[in-house]
């Protein structure tokens, strides 16, 4: 069944196979939006689950995300003008002083794979830039990535900056990264903690539901 093959190819990171299966499905009359919402996004959900369970590691996740990206490149022109019901707008960045990006990049990929519109602010992002991005993009979620203990305080700084700018209640703040914990997230007034990139999309969806 073409749809199962498509899902499988995403899950196993077979980019070329996914594109062939996708084209087959489209040729057979499947609707682009349905393929996205019913096959591709759930497939990425399986990938995230497998990572969370320790079955998948970074290479497997990246390969799946790349396969998804290849399919999105085919679907996006076909979705222009169609209400895709984006799961939400998220801005993501590594906080000031933190130049690590691979963890954050995987989160961005997984959020996109779950149907979120994501603006990646990059690394070493100051509280001021987070505020500016909130004012520009009007996201539902602000994602803060912090990989080292020394920059953890910057997450609280971002939350303060959002408060000072009067936009804190317009967004939900989600935090993550190796040294971060649920307890720390609560302590600094974040709305959610994602323990790993695999479950970031689930956490984001839960935040908005």
């Amino acid at each position: 069944m073409a749809l199962e093959v498509l899902a499988d190819c995403i899950i196993t990171g077979d980019g070329p196979g996914a594109q062939i299966a996708l084209r087959d499905a489209l040729a057979a009359g499947a609707k682009p939006l349905t393929l996205l919402q019913d096959t591709l996004i759930p497939a990425m959900g399986v990938v995230g689950e497998k990572f969370g369970k320790g079955e998948y590691f970074i290479p497997e996740m990246l390969l799946a995300a790349r396969a998804m990206k290849g399919c999105m490149a085919i679907l996006e022109p076909l979705l222009v003008g169609i209400e895709t019901g984006s799961a939400g707008i998220v801005i993501v960045g590594s906080v000031k002083g933190d130049l690590h990006d691979i963890g954050k990049n995987i989160v961005v990929m997984m959020l996109k794979g779950a149907g979120f519109t994501v603006h990646d602010l990059g690394v070493d992002v100051s509280p001021e830039r987070f505020v500016a991005a909130v004012q520009e993009y009007h996201p539902q979620i602000v994602g803060l990535s912090c990989l080292i203990t020394t920059t953890m305080p910057m997450m609280a700084e971002v939350i303060h900056a959002l408060e000072s700018a009067g936009v804190r209640d317009q967004v939900k703040v989600m935090v993550g990264g190796a040294p971060v914990s649920q307890e720390y997230a609560e302590r600094i007034g974040a709305d959610a903690f994602a323990p790993n990139a695999g479950v970031a999309a689930v956490a984001a969806r839960d935040l908005l539901s």
């Binding site: 590691f57 970074i58 290479p59 000031k96 130049l99």
Partner: protein, 394 residues
């Protein structure tokens, strides 16, 4: 028991024998030192004169521990590396970018940068072998000629320093390759390729991954050959590194490790073992429990840093399961949740717990889990070392 020399204390523990007290390491390796910012604050706290410290490692911004600090703390290990590199040199070696960073390219062509304003250390911003590359690109790449630098070839001075540490100071000596070359074959592969391309290569293009990992291992081996030829008979510990773990699980699957990386570790560590009786100290952060048996197989003698806060890496469990086969160098205090953010009392408690877990039967050198970071209060460091002194006796 009679008081042992530092060196005998360390050697006994490396031999899985209980010495007089647990050996202590500050600054013996590039993963057991202290960030410059914390070091500058520590010196006056120890009642020592203000000086311009030298860097043990420039990228991580960690200090070369001076003799007076080693004495005051009671470090039983010294690094063989002798560095004259000071902040003025770093400012000269780097360029200031328009967007507020100090930047440089290392001997491998990798770009590093650190924020000028409140930066802690250098991180990569440029991966020279990223994107689509061919075998021809690899051949044409300007791989580092590590012997072109006179610093790396000053073996006479190196031997003198090592024999001085062992003979006059009577401390143990640890030797690593310097600079970015201290990284492992897998690490350098990811740093050259960029993380995304490298991780994907490991399963989607293992031939390419193997080529690059192998090339890096070859270069490191050639450098070890000269190093060990010059000083292999006088060093106690030889340092290798290759980060394999994340917070909750390995970065790559154990299967991927065994297929693509392990063969190169095996031949590199065999090569080293054939040329020195020194023990191999292997550094890997993170949750690597499932690969510890593999590391034992490839010839790792000492495991560092024992990130006790990572999944599956609790000090008691790892000691119980692998304490017969491995020496643990690190694991002395939880640096993610306690040393930097806890009270001195929290620190004392955690240190006592780790001592209890790791001391029995020797096979343990006390060090923090990785370098002491720049934001760690001196009071916590003093509390830590006092606790080791008080509770570290056998």
């Amino acid at each position: 028991m009679a008081i042992m020399t530092s060196r005998d204390r360390v050697l006994a523990s490396l031999d899985h024998r209980e010495p007089d007290r647990v050996p202590l390491d500050l600054g013996g390796t590039e993963n057991t030192s202290i960030h410059m910012k914390a070091y500058r604050r520590l010196r006056p706290r120890l009642g020592l004169a203000e000086i311009e410290p030298a860097y043990l490692d420039f990228v991580q911004q960690i200090a070369l521990i001076d003799d007076d600090v080693a004495e005051a703390i009671g470090s039983d290990v010294r690094s063989a590396s002798e560095s004259e590199l000071r902040w003025a040199d770093i400012e000269e070696m780097t360029t200031r970018t328009d967007d507020g960073y100090l930047a440089f390219h290392d001997e491998w062509g990798i770009g590093w940068r650190m924020p000028v304003d409140s930066g802690w250390y250098f991180d990569m911003f440029e991966h020279p072998l990223s994107g689509i590359i061919s075998a021809g690109d690899l051949d044409a790449y300007p791989w580092p000629d590590l012997f072109a630098s006179s610093v790396l070839l000053d073996f006479g001075n190196l031997r003198k320093r090592i024999t001085d540490i062992a003979g006059r100071e009577q401390r143990a000596v640890a030797l690593s390759q310097i600079g970015v070359t201290a990284g492992g074959p897998l690490e350098l592969f990811t740093w050259l390729r960029g993380f995304e391309d490298a991780y994907i290569d490991l399963i989607a293009d293992p031939l390419l991954a193997d080529r690059i990992i192998g090339r890096v291992a070859d270069i490191k081996m050639a450098y070890w050959e000269k190093l060990l030829d010059a000083v292999g008979d006088v060093v106690d510990v030889v340092i290798e590194s290759d980060d394999l773990g994340g917070q909750d699980q390995p970065l790559i699957s154990p299967d991927t490790y065994r297929r693509v990386v392990k063969p190169h570790h095996k031949r590199l560590y065999d090569f080293i073992h054939q040329r020195t009786r020194a023990k191999i100290f292997f550094h890997s952060c993170g949750a690597i429990r499932s690969m510890i048996p593999d590391l034992i197989e490839v010839g790792v003698d000492i495991l560092n840093p024992l990130q006790v806060s990572a999944a599956g890496m609790d000090s008691a469990e790892v000691k119980r399961d692998f304490g017969r086969d491995l020496v643990f160098w690190g694991g002395g205090v939880d640096t993610q949740h306690v040393l930097g953010s806890g009270s001195p009392r929290d620190v004392r408690e955690d240190v006592r717990r780790r001592l209890g877990d790791l001391m029995p039967g020797g096979g343990f050198v006390f060090a923090t889990v990785h370098n002491i970071q720049g934001n760690v209060p001196e009071e916590n460091l003093i509390a830590m070392w006092e606790t080791v002194r008080e509770y570290g006796k056998y």
